[in-house]
């Protein structure tokens, strides 16, 4: 079990042998639960689930009866059980939010012995977040991406990145097709300019319309968020996003424990699991505390501007009023809250 605890985040590709007693958190376990609920089940699935169910049953019996099994382990399966049946964050009462946060914090402590802090801070009144990006200043240094990955606990194994920096060719306009977003050479390269994209937090986001379970929605302050525990992983939102703003956890995310950012938000950078969507949240754990997102803070060129669109004195409003701003794919009617401008 101790080995399990240490490796909870790892992919373990080589390890095909799954111990049957190891019931507490394998995916077959979850499958077992779902057989209770899954109405549209077919033979094959049913068979599989019954098998899995038997495994769970056997596991549960051994857990509850075993003299050796520690209280911690029981607590752990208790937490997992309650976590599995919790509702959609959007519909939770404050009390329920606190309970799930307590469970998540405790569960992390049980796994690693470390404390984390998960905030549930809601949107502030009279705040609508907006972002501006200066394409004449960005030099392609990629410090923003680095900061983003660290801040938001993104999967290191698949090198997930919310931000993409596109190296565009001078004289070809905004030709994304010919842009290079895999460059690795000294920057800025002559004859190029750089343009960053990420989730644009559209005011009319197509991604939230299509989600069958409302696992993703727009908060009052304009941030488009995901409830990672509610997402069923159908990836319809990914297909609906015209901006390549969404990412999927194709396997269990891996983050070395010492690199985990422990200041977390339920809708932001808390640890994700396999098979769920995630994306930029304007660093909700930072922005709701009055800080700038990590990318803004890390940018050495000042190309990135963040602020409250409802505050007439904010920098972002100054940019909108005084610079020639544009947005990408405006014709789609998505109304991104992410503007580009030039010096």
């Amino acid at each position: 079990m101790s080995k399990e605890i240490k490796k909870w985040f790892s992919l373990n590709l080589g390890n095909k042998k799954q111990c049957a007693c190891n019931d507490t958190k394998s995916n077959t376990t979850e499958d077992g639960f779902s057989q209770v609920f899954d109405i549209s089940m077919n033979r094959r699935q049913a068979f599989k689930k019954i098998t899995a169910g038997l495994l769970v049953g056997a596991g549960a019996v051994s857990t509850s009866c075993s003299v050796v099994s520690s209280g911690e382990r029981k607590e752990k399966s208790q937490i997992e059980w309650e976590e599995y049946f919790k509702g959609n964050y959007k519909l939770m009462t404050d009390e329920e939010k606190q309970q799930t946060v307590d469970r998540l914090v405790r569960s992390y402590e049980l796994r690693t012995g470390k404390k984390i802090n998960i905030s549930t801070k809601g949107a502030e009144k009279d705040v609508l977040f907006g972002y501006a990006f200066n394409i004449s200043k960005c030099q392609g240094y990629m410090d923003c991406v680095n900061a983003c990955v660290k801040e938001n606990n993104q999967d290191r194994a698949s090198e997930m990145q919310y931000i993409r920096i596109h190296e565009m060719n001078d004289g070809k306009g905004l030709n994304f097709g010919e842009a290079d977003d895999t460059f690795y050479h000294e920057v800025p390269a002559a004859g190029h300019f750089y343009m960053g994209t990420q989730c644009f937090h559209c005011d009319n986001p197509p991604c939230i319309e299509v989600c069958p379970v409302q696992a993703t929605w727009k908060e009052k302050d304009g941030i488009v968020v995901i409830d990672y525990d509610w997402c069923i992983g159908c990836r319809y939102c990914m297909a609906a996003c015209p901006y390549d703003g969404r990412r999927f956890n194709w396997s269990t995310p891996q983050i070395p424990e010492q690199e985990v950012n422990k200041e977390q938000h339920y809708l932001g950078n808390r640890l994700r699991k396999k098979g769920v969507m995630e994306k930029c949240t304007f660093c909700v754990q930072r922005s709701r505390e009055g800080k700038n997102p990590a990318c803004v803070e890390a940018c050495p060129t000042g190309s990135r501007i963040f602020g409250n669109l409802l505050d007439p004195t904010s920098e972002i409003r100054w940019v909108l009023a005084n610079k020639k701003v544009f947005r990408l794919k405006e014709d789609l009617g998505t109304e991104p809250k992410f503007w580009y401008f030039m010096d």
């Binding site: 977040f129 990629m142 993409r164 895999t182 690795y184 009055g290 409802l310």
Partner: protein, 211 residues
């Protein structure tokens, strides 16, 4: 055969009531912003932030006012008058073998017709700078020197489009000063290696290599 009609009708009703209406109140996000704009008071205190008001300087020639960090205390070996106690011409040694005091400063800012040391520094008052017309400018307000030529950038900076906000969006703005990013003697950004690889898509990477 009644059923024949009922089904499409039910379907039609379903389609009609399913029209998404709620978030179409505003035609564009700009309309929404304009409609909902409120006088928003940004916090003037920097709670547990990295700044104390005493180390900040207010930029008053911008509306709204914002802050910059006090500069003089951050300049190495300020005040300059500790060495520069007399005009530079008297301090200068004409022996080519002597190592220069400011050997590491090489002016790479505009061309020699436009800029020399004395465009900004004052020969006999090194603790201050001066404008083109000879007005004294304090080191803490060095942006006024830059603004003489770079007026456009200065406007952007005052508005918030140029120069980085380092205090967060909610508290009063503290901006980086020109010289915190641009070395005044060599102001352009340098080429360097990116901090990391860009998005790794194995397939694309291999194709890139082949090219």
């Amino acid at each position: 055969m009644n059923v024949n009609y009922n089904i499409p009708v039910i379907f039609l009703i379903l389609v009609l009531i399913s029209c998404k209406g709620d978030h179409k109140k505003y035609h564009t996000v700009i309309d929404k912003i304009e409609a909902k704009t409120v006088p928003f008071q940004r916090d003037s205190t920097f709670s547990k932030n990295q700044f104390s008001i005493s180390e900040l300087i207010t930029v008053t020639d911008a509306n709204p006012h914002f802050y910059i960090k006090e500069r003089k205390s951050n300049i190495k070996s300020f005040a300059c008058s500790e060495c520069h106690d007399r005009p530079v011409s008297q301090l200068q040694s004409h022996n080519p073998n002597t190592k220069k005091a400011h050997w590491d400063i090489k002016l790479n800012h505009a061309d020699a017709n436009t800029m020399s040391c004395l465009s900004c520094h004052i020969d006999n008052d090194m603790d201050n700078m001066h404008s083109i017309t000879g007005t004294k400018i304090d080191f803490n307000k060095s942006y006024q020197i830059c603004a003489q030529c770079h007026s456009k950038q200065a406007e952007d900076w005052k508005g918030g489009a140029h120069g980085k906000n380092i205090s967060g969006w909610k508290t009063a703005r503290v901006s980086k000063l020109c010289v915190e990013c641009h070395n005044p003697h060599n102001p352009s950004f340098k080429t360097r290696w990116p901090a990391r690889y860009n998005a790794t898509m194995v397939d694309e990477r291999t194709n890139q290599v082949k090219k």
